[in-house]
C-alpha cells in the first residue's frame, strides 16, 4: 500500500503499529542523491585544489568554494552510516562505506569512527554519560557548540571516557574504532605530506574549511535539534527554525524525523513528516503541532521562531 493511501487513512488509529506501518512504506530505496553529493563534492574539492595550485583562481576564492563543498561532505557519510546508500539491496552494502569514506576526504575523518559514535548517539541521545554528541549539543550559545565540537576530542575528556567504555562493553564498536583509526592516521599523514609541498593551500583549502564545516555540523546537526531536551524517543529532538531556508541548514530543521525513523532517507523526510504528522503530534514531539501540512523548502520558516 502506498504512503499516500496510508497517510490519508482514518487517523483514529494512532497506534505504534500503524505508525510503523506508514513509516515502513518510506524505507528501503537507494538514496542516489547522497551518492551524487558525496562523490560530487569530493570531486569538486579536488578540482578547486587543482585550479588554485595552477593559479587559475586565487587562494581566497578557493577557500570560499572549498568551505562550501566541505560543508556537504558529512551528510553522504551520515546516509552511509544508516545504510541509505544501498537501501534494501544487500549486495550494494559496500556503497555505504566506500562512498561514505570518499565523501569524508575533505573533512579528513574516518567513516567507521563517525558511524560507530553516531549510532551510539542514536542509542543514547541526550544522555550526559552516554551520548558522544552531548558536549557540543547541550550548550547555551551556538558559538559554544562551534568550539566544543573541536575541543571535546581531547584524550582526557568526557568523550574519550565514553569511547573507552563503549569499547569495553561493545566489541563491534571497538573493531569499528580500530578500523577507523587507520583512516584517521592516513589522513594525518596525508596532510603532513601535502603541506610540505603546498603549505598555505593545505591550510586554506583543507584545514580551515574542515574546521568551519565541523563547527557548522556541530551547530546545525547537534545543538539546534537536541539542545536542552530530555531523553526519550519522542522527546529528544525538536522541529526548529533559524530563519534560514531549510536547504542552508541541510534540512536539519526536520532532523526529528531522522531520530524517529533513521532508516528513512534524508531526502524522503519531508513526505515522511507529512505522512506521520498526526502520530508526531499525538506523541508530543516538540514543535510537531506547528508543522504545516505540506513540508516545502521554506515552509517551516513562518511556523517557528528560534
Amino acid at each position: 500500500m502506498g504512503v499516500d493511501k496510508l497517510a490519508n487513512q482514518d487517523y483514529q488509529d494512532l497506534s505504534i503499529e500503524q505508525e510503523r506501518k506508514v513509516a515502513r512504506t518510506l524505507m528501503g530505496r537507494i538514496e542516489w542523491e547522497m551518492i551524487v553529493i558525496g562523490l560530487g563534492q569530493c570531486a569538486l574539492w579536488v578540482v578547486i585544489w587543482s585550479l588554485v595550485v595552477q593559479s587559475i583562481i586565487p587562494l581566497w576564492a578557493g577557500f570560499l568554494m572549498s568551505t562550501i563543498t566541505t560543508a556537504f561532505s558529512y551528510l553522504p557519510s551520515h546516509a552511509g552510516q544508516h545504510g541509505h546508500l544501498s537501501g534494501k539491496h544487500k549486495n550494494l552494502k559496500w556503497l555505504n562505506s566506500v562512498v561514505g569514506q570518499i565523501s569524508l576526504i575533505p573533512l579528513a575523518q574516518a567513516h567507521d569512527v563517525l558511524k560507530a559514535t553516531h549510532l551510539k548517539h542514536h542509542a543514547h541521545t541526550n544522555d550526559p554519560e552516554r551520548d558522544p554528541d552531548y558536549g557540543h549539543t547541550h550548550v547555551d550559545h551556538w558559538w559554544q557548540s562551534a568550539l566544543n565540537v573541536h575541543l571535546q576530542t581531547g584524550t582526557d575528556g568526557k568523550l574519550a571516557k565514553m569511547v573507552e567504555e563503549f569499547s569495553v562493553e561493545d566489541p563491534s564498536f571497538k573493531q569499528a574504532m580500530e578500523r577507523g583509526g587507520l583512516f584517521s592516521m592516513l589522513f594525518l599523514f596525508a596532510q603532513m605530506v601535502v603541506v610540505v609541498f603546498y603549505p598555505l593551500e593545505t591550510l586554506v583549502l583543507w584545514w580551515l574549511p574542515r574546521k568551519l564545516a565541523t563547527s557548522f555540523i556541530g551547530i546545525f546537526f547537534s545543538m539546534e535539534p537536541h539542545s536542552k531536551l530530555p531523553k526519550g524517543r519522542y522527546l529528544d529532538t525538536r522541529f526548529w527554525s533559524n530563519g534560514m531556508p531549510r536547504f542552508f541548514n541541510h534540512s536539519m530543521q526536520i532532523h526529528v524525523m531522522h531520530h524517529m525513523y533513521p532508516n528513512i532517507c534524508h531526502f524522503d523526510e519531508p513526505k515522511a513528516i507529512e505522512a506521520l504528522l498526526p502520530f508526531m503530534i499525538e506523541r508530543g514531539i516538540p514543535g510537531a503541532d506547528k508543522v504545516p501540512e505540506r513540508v516545502k523548502l521554506n515552509s517551516l520558516l513562518t511556523n517557528f521562531s528560534s
Binding site: 575541543l151 576530542t153 575528556g157 592516521m185 594525518l188 596532510q191 603532513m192 603549505p199 598555505l200
Partner: protein, 68 residues
C-alpha cells in the same frame, strides 16, 4: 609485526607533536615568507619549524587535539 605495532603506538602517542612540527612548521615557514625578507635563511626556517614543534608539544600535553 612488532615494528608496525610500535609505529602505531608511537603515532598514537606522538602524532600531534609530529603534526605540529611538520604541518604547522611548514605553514609558519610559508607564512613568514610574506613578512620577512630573510625567511629563506636556515636559521629562520629552523625557527618556524621549532615554533611548530612547540605547538605540537603544547597540543600533546594540554590536549589541544584541534590543531590537527
Amino acid at each position: 609485526m612488532k615494528i608496525v605495532t610500535l609505529f602505531f603506538e608511537h603515532i598514537t602517542n606522538w602524532g600531534l607533536v609530529w603534526f605540529g612540527l611538520i604541518f604547522w612548521g611548514s605553514i609558519f615557514n610559508a607564512t613568514s615568507a610574506y613578512y620577512f625578507q630573510d625567511s629563506h635563511e636556515f636559521g629562520f626556517v629552523l625557527l618556524t619549524y621549532l615554533l611548530g614543534l612547540i605547538l605540537g608539544l603544547l597540543a600533546k600535553y594540554r590536549g589541544w587535539v584541534w590543531i590537527n
